[in-house]
Chain length 148, copies 2
Amino acid sequence: MGIKDDAVEVRAQGWRTLAALHGNIVAALEKALQSAADLSVVEYTVLDALSRQDGWHMRMQQLARATALSSSATTRLVNRLEDRGLLARILCADDRRGIYTELTEAGQKLLLAARPVHDETLAESLTAAESVPELEPLVKALGALQGA
Amino acid sequence: MGIKDDAVEVRAQGWRTLAALHGNIVAALEKALQSAADLSVVEYTVLDALSRQDGWHMRMQQLARATALSSSATTRLVNRLEDRGLLARILCADDRRGIYTELTEAGQKLLLAARPVHDETLAESLTAAESVPELEPLVKALGALQGA
DNA sequence: CAAAAGTAGTTGCTTGCGCAATTACATGGC
DNA sequence: GCCATGTAATTGCGCAAGCAACTACTTTTG
């Protein structure tokens, strides 16, 4: 049964590595986006998700899934961004329970300003993680994902 | 410059995948550990980190790094676990600023009960993620990490 | 050896999150 | 067509997180 136990330990170790890398990246992005655009990581995620959506509108639920947030958190997140004029709520006619969100011009503008900061910080984080023995293999594996 | 831009997009995509997988796993672990042992994921992480430490004691700062938490959050996290009798604070003589934390017997016992739940939930999450096209390659890469 | 600078941990305050309950709308059975 | 069941989004509430300010101790420096 040693083999099975090993598999468990390998998974746990992989998970710790994943969590550590995730934590590092989030911390770096949080700081960078905050100071550059007054955005949190989830806020950036929303703007980015909306921009990569055809027609630029998404329902609350999709947003919740895209951000791994609860519905209530999503509601308030959208509130914050709406109050800042970065996106707009649009009720859709065919299903009157549903609400679409859409980037405003200000939102697109801010996103365009924030994206380079985001991408650069991400690159830096990954580079930094490459020189941490614990994290290096995962970073490499990550880089090889789409490269196939 | 198309090549460079591609690299940026690949990194961003990889990051989104990583974040999504991380979110799924955390959500699953949170629910499972909560109902099985009344522990949050960070709380479990602390107990687990302490148990895997030789001599079973760590300083607050190490704990903060291990959990990717701020010092203040670590203080209160340790408070919670101490109040529940799962770990104990021990001031160390050589540096009277420092505080060691150590698992109590109750803490070890709870950890032993929680660990199978944790490992099983982790395995389930990864299996579930394998059938999500977006996530599948990363899960495989993760499994191949230590297997080398 | 005394003052300055640095480090470890804790506390006050604000903010954002999840859960459960609620409102508003949609849909399936009869 | 009408009631029961289900889904979308929002609100009340409690809790845990981060930041900044603070205390206590250590180390450096002149």
